[in-house]
Amino acid sequence: MTDQPDSTRSGDEVPIEKQPDDSKALPTSDAPPREGEEYSGEDYGSEERFIFTPPIDIYETDEGLVLHADLPGVSLETLDLQVQDNKLTLFGRVSPPAPPEAQLTHCEYRVGDFLRSFILSDEVDHDRIRATLNNGVLRVVLPKARKSEPRRIQVQTD
């Protein structure tokens, strides 16, 4: 067993949008912006924001795949997780850690939003995907679709 059951993990259940509302379109087409690329999100008026690709781990368990993504600064309220047409998209908005009047005197990382998309194979049971968010890490469980039993076909000779 490589994976603990969910009941032993803390973390907030993330709702997964199956049919995203078009009015809340994520800032992506089929080509998400590159690291540090600026975009103007409609939610923010003309404010320029950065967007980053979050690092992920994917590992296999008996029941399917588990994906972990680092989304520091993202909370349940600012996370969008959507499944649409075999595409799983995560988008997390991040607020600056310091008040606007703060002077940034030493900078090793830039603050921005997180965006990443994946194509799901048919072997993933879309209806049973579930996700939790804990301490800025998103954990998505992608269960294998249950296979039907192979059926024996009698071959009869004439």
Binding site: Y59, H106, E108, R116
Partner: protein, 150 residues
């Protein structure tokens, strides 16, 4: 020493999942362009406000009990670890881009900080350390005495 695990090569039942929509389609040659990676861990920012300095770090997935902050001799040391996937066998990984392991960083505290009043908060994987400013110490005049060496 941080440990980076490299996922197994492509293949297996879920191969399609790994076909990401973005530039990772470029194949097996996974570079970390685009992934925040390969620099000192964790990256730190320092902000200055009228009455305090604010040190921030991104530490997603670190539990607060695995975080240790100590101050001594004007140096603030941050220590911690993240190893929640240590029980997953290496061959089970398809992708491994996240930092795992122990880390430590030390920063020199600005002079006029009141060490004893420092506080820290940790939410959504973001650590904020508040360093309250003390009184501006006025420079002390050191009298220069003429020496009468002959």
């Amino acid at each position: 020493m941080p440990i980076f695990r490299w996922g197994q090569a492509w293949g297996g039942a879920f191969r399609d999942l790994e076909r990401e929509v973005d530039r990772l389609l470029q194949g097996v040659n996974l570079t970390f362009e685009g992934v925040r990676f390969g620099r000192q861990y964790p990256p730190l920012n320092l902000y200055e406000l009228p009455d305090e300095y604010l040190l921030t770090a991104e530490l997603p997935g670190t539990r607060s009990e695995d975080l240790e902050l100590t101050v001594a001799g004007g140096i603030l040391t941050l220590k911690g670890r993240r190893d929640e996937l240590k029980d997953v066998p290496e061959e089970k990984f398809r992708r491994s881009e996240r930092f795992h392991g122990n880390w430590q960083r030390s920063v020199t505290i600005p002079d006029r900080v009141r060490d004893e009043e420092m506080t820290a908060e940790f939410n959504d994987g973001i650590l904020k350390v508040h360093l309250p400013k003390g009184e501006e110490t006025s420079p002390r005049q050191i009298p220069v005495v003429e020496s009468h060496d002959s």
